[in-house]
């Protein structure tokens, strides 16, 4: 059972906006109604005259902030507007309703110019970024892919697109800020308290110890809370200016321009193979967008560098700098859009070569990591595919498309590979033994719904050689030992490493005769640095069945199965929840998620949950996940790989490939909509 489960089902788990704060004022954000351009007037005197309005913040009166790397945090530091929807002002008032009404009434004048927001592969402004997220080269290449492709017996040359997609955690980005004795206390919804505290200290020119960030419960993030967002700056600034504690949350609508999203992608993939499907050439070229505020380059082609063997290969990323909100991390950035393209292309190659899609992947399985030549710490893609084939009933599948029809429905099945790197970051932790035989482990980890608190409790208990019921794990507070954020699927691995080491040290102290109260600490910086050179990745196989209505074009997915190889699974129930949760988001990516840019005025048009569709209960039928236990000594003391993101990777490709099997339609643009089916059927 989840450690904090009881609090969550009784409504007593407090999220950022829910802490009782005496004398709090309420802030509400005002977004640019035009852009790009500049703000020429803020008619704040009109709303300051309203009863209950305390302050209006804008570039005209905002305190100066120190510059930080993320320009989106330079709130109200100039009259420049980078894109429509950017926060240009805020109202602080005695009540939420007054703040909201005043924000609606606040008149702001702009001098704006037509926005450039259209992502196009022919854009002459496309450029090659220095590196892609987080620090990969933009381009790589080996051999002579152009010549080898031309000489290949079987060739696939196809372009796939994925739209902008928004993370949409259920809890909007929210902060309560309070200044006390020159220090700043923040109850904030984020994926890493240490990161937020460090950034806010930098912005407000404080010592790191002067900022305290508290976030024991976080209502999802999926990457969008991995870095501090304007909400935390806005709340801190409003609290400083008014001398009051301030509560602030973005509305769901505002989140679409202010809290990050996945860039749209245009991906051209070329696969050249021998007649039996053995790859000779892999080329994956990606076009994406970033903003004028800050560069974010999604690493969409990076999985192509390590998935399949081929002597001739090239990957490339090109960016368009547009007048749009800055894209950022969304669940498995890179792998999610990149593997949609690669795994659809692999399905096309299997069909063209007349090879079973699973056999095609097995046939192109590399011995070492293709581009780096490094040995894999463990790689069980083939085992996942084989196990999935058995469980899903793949072996008696007729590969012919468009031949399974019952009544007005067509049926088909598809498969795709999944992968995600097994990342690791240095972390600190402490472990303390009390005289009553209980233990307390402290680490500034975050549980955004992953089950981190529960997994770390199990990991600590194992290292302490005690029962989990005697262990309390304290997380979600920057006052705790510094830890990396919940991102890159590295949380449990990185935090668990430090927790294990702290608990082992404490166990050794106790075994050596130390008597409680006693505390031990750990810092894994050196150990993480000293790890050997291996290619460390988790793998998986995604299977999907689709049902297509020939009259309406409606696509339903009666069945999805994921088989994963992600090291040792510490907490099976939470792991399954993570896997199927990722697959559910992958179902949304396949069938419905799409943010549409207003090409005349900028900003995303469909900015709420009535227009941006995420899967609802009735969309999800049978989704299941199983795994292959791996024993991998090259990872960390627990032997774990991350599991938070791989569930979404490849899911949309499996659905698209199943759609082809059902209908014969090769739809290469996500989402796969009834309109696209009907137009092409």
């Amino acid at each position: 059972m989840r450690v904090e489960g009881r609090e969550k089902v009784t409504g007593t788990a407090r999220y950022a906006y829910e802490y009782p704060v005496a004398g709090a004022a309420y802030a509400f954000a005002v977004q640019a109604a035009a852009g790009p351009g500049r703000v020429t007037a803020v008619h704040d005197e009109e709303v300051l005259a309203l009863p209950g309005v305390i302050a209006v913040l804008s570039h005209r009166n905002a305190p100066a902030l120190k510059p930080v790397e993320d320009g989106e945090l330079a709130l109200f530091q100039s009259d420049e507007v980078a894109y429509r929807g950017q926060v240009v002002a805020a109202v602080v008032a005695e009540t939420l309703d007054t703040a909201r009404e005043a924000a609606r009434l606040l008149r702001v004048d702009y001098d704006d110019r037509p926005p450039k927001v259209r992502l196009s592969p022919g854009d002459p402004g496309l450029y090659k970024p220095e590196e892609v997220n987080p620090s990969f080269p933009a381009d790589t290449g080996q051999g002579d892919p152009d010549e080898a492709f031309g000489a290949s017996a079987v060739r696939i040359d196809a372009t796939y697109t994925t739209p902008a997609e928004h993370n949409n955690p259920m809890e909007p980005h929210a902060t309560i800020a309070e200044w006390r004795d020159g220090g700043l206390t923040l109850h904030d919804s984020n994926q890493g308290a240490s990161t937020v505290a460090a950034t806010l200290a930098e912005l407000f020119d404080l010592e790191p110890a002067q900022v305290r960030v508290v976030a024991p419960h976080v209502g999802g993030g999926f990457g969008s809370k991995g870095t501090p967002r304007p909400n935390v700056v806005l709340a801190a600034m409003a609290a400083r200016v008014t001398g009051r504690p301030v509560k602030f949350a973005f509305t769901r609508q505002q989140m679409f321009a202010t809290t990050g999203y996945r860039t749209p992608t245009i991906q051209r993939v070329r696969l050249g193979a021998d007649a039996d499907g053995t790859l000779t050439t892999i080329v994956h070229e990606v076009v994406e967008q970033t903003s004028t505020v800050r560069e974010f380059a999604e690493q969409a082609a990076t999985p192509t560098r390590m998935m399949y063997r081929a002597p001739h290969r090239r990957t490339a990323h090109r960016l368009a700098r547009l007048d749009v909100p800055t894209p950022s991390w969304m669940r498995a950035p890179g792998e999610t859009p990149g593997m949609f393209a690669l795994e659809c292309a692999m399905d096309e190659l299997a069909f063209a070569a007349g090879v079973d899609p699973i056999e095609l992947r097995v046939r192109n399985e590399p011995d070492t990591e293709p581009e780096s030549g490094l040995p894999f710490s463990s790689r069980n893609l083939v085992a996942c595919l084989r196990r999935g084939a058995e469980l899903f009933g793949w072996d008696d599948r007729d590969p012919a498309p468009s031949v399974r029809r019952r009544g007005r429905k067509m049926y088909g099945t598809g498969v795709a590979s999944a992968t995600y790197p097994a990342n690791l970051s240095p972390s600190k932790a402490t472990a303390a033994a009390a005289p009553d035989g209980t233990f307390t482990v402290r680490i500034a980890a975050a549980d955004i719904g992953t089950g981190a608190r529960t997994a770390l409790t199990a990991i600590a208990a194992e290292a302490l050689k005690t029962d989990a019921s005697r262990v309390t794990v304290e997380i979600g507070d920057s006052a705790l030992p510094k830890a990396p954020l919940a991102g890159g699927s590295m949380g449990t691995a990185s935090w668990g490493f430090a927790v294990t080491r702290a608990c082992e040290a404490l166990r050794a102290d106790l075994d050596g005769g130390a008597s409680p109260p006693v505390e031990a600490s750990a810092d894994t910086t050196e150990e993480v640095k000293a790890r050997g050179d291996y290619a460390r990745h988790a793998f998986g196989a995604q299977f999907a069945e689709v049902e297509v209505d020939v009259d309406t074009g409606e696509i339903r997915v009666p069945r999805m199965l994921g088989v994963f190889a992600a090291g040792r699974i510490v907490d099976p129930q939470r792991a399954r929840s993570q896997f199927i949760g990722g697959m559910t988001m992958g179902l949304g990516m396949a069938l419905m998620e799409e943010s549409t840019m207003d090409e005349r005025f900028g900003d995303y048009v469909n900015h709420d949950l009535a227009q941006y569709h995420v899967p609802a209960c009735a969309d999800v039928r049978d989704i299941d996940a199983v795994w292959i236990e791996e024993s991998d000594p090259h990872l960390n003391p627990m032997g774990t790989k991350g599991i938070g993101e791989i569930g979404i990777v490849g899911a949309a490709a499996a659905v698209a490939n199943a759609l082809h099997h059902a209908t014969g339609l090769r739809l290469r643009d996500l989402p796969l909509t009834p309109a696209a089916v009907l137009t092409n059927l």
Binding site: T10, G11, T12, N168, V218, G449, I580, M585, L609
Partner: protein, 178 residues
């Protein structure tokens, strides 16, 4: 009444989780903000404030409702049950226990709404109210998985716990039927 500051207030009486409250409310305030900001009942969540996500679901006079779409001033005389009122003291409701057992949540932010919604839904089904997927005919609808999914589709869960939510509701419905 206008309190002189341009804001109109009204007095209402609402019963919240069994306790009658006499309250003076800003007539613009939603039931959700009344619960969260004035009564300290933060169990009901604000996910969208537009009736699109269901995180704010409470039981209003016994029926599930989006508290973000209900103006507090219109609730004079109403009986409200929030997630904080579902358990009997320390004893969790069968649905709460089933959500724990089935791991029917991850981040937990949609959970109070899911629980209130499921509580109201089981009652609706028991009273024979059909859903969009109920086959025509007499008799109370059988709560199979398709019925549960359809009836729980007003509550979004971005963590993607639907499979486990359906399992939890199925388990609790089975218990209720016994």
């Amino acid at each position: 009444m206008d309190s002189g500051d341009g804001v109109v207030h009204a007095e209402i009486t609402v019963t919240v989780n069994g306790a009658a409250r006499r309250l003076r409310v800003d007539t613009r305030v939603s039931l959700l903000d009344l619960l969260r900001e004035e009564l300290g009942l933060t169990g009901a969540k604000k996910g969208c404030d537009h009736g699109q996500c269901g995180a704010c679901t409470v039981l209003l006079d016994g029926r599930r409702a989006n508290a973000c779409l209900a103006l507090a001033v219109a609730q004079d005389g109403a009986e409200v049950v929030t997630v904080e009122g579902l358990a009997g003291g320390d004893r969790l409701s069968p649905l709460q226990q089933a959500f724990l057992d089935e791991d029917a949540f991850q981040c937990g932010y949609c959970t109070p709404g899911q629980l209130c919604s499921a509580t109201g839904m089981l009652d609706e089904a028991a009273r024979g109210r059909p859903s969009a997927v109920t086959p025509p005919g007499d008799g109370p609808p059988e709560l199979d998985d398709a019925e549960i999914r359809e009836r729980m589709s007003g509550n979004l869960c971005r963590c993607g716990a639907y499979v486990n939510i359906v399992a939890a509701v199925r388990a609790a419905a089975g218990e209720a039927a016994r």
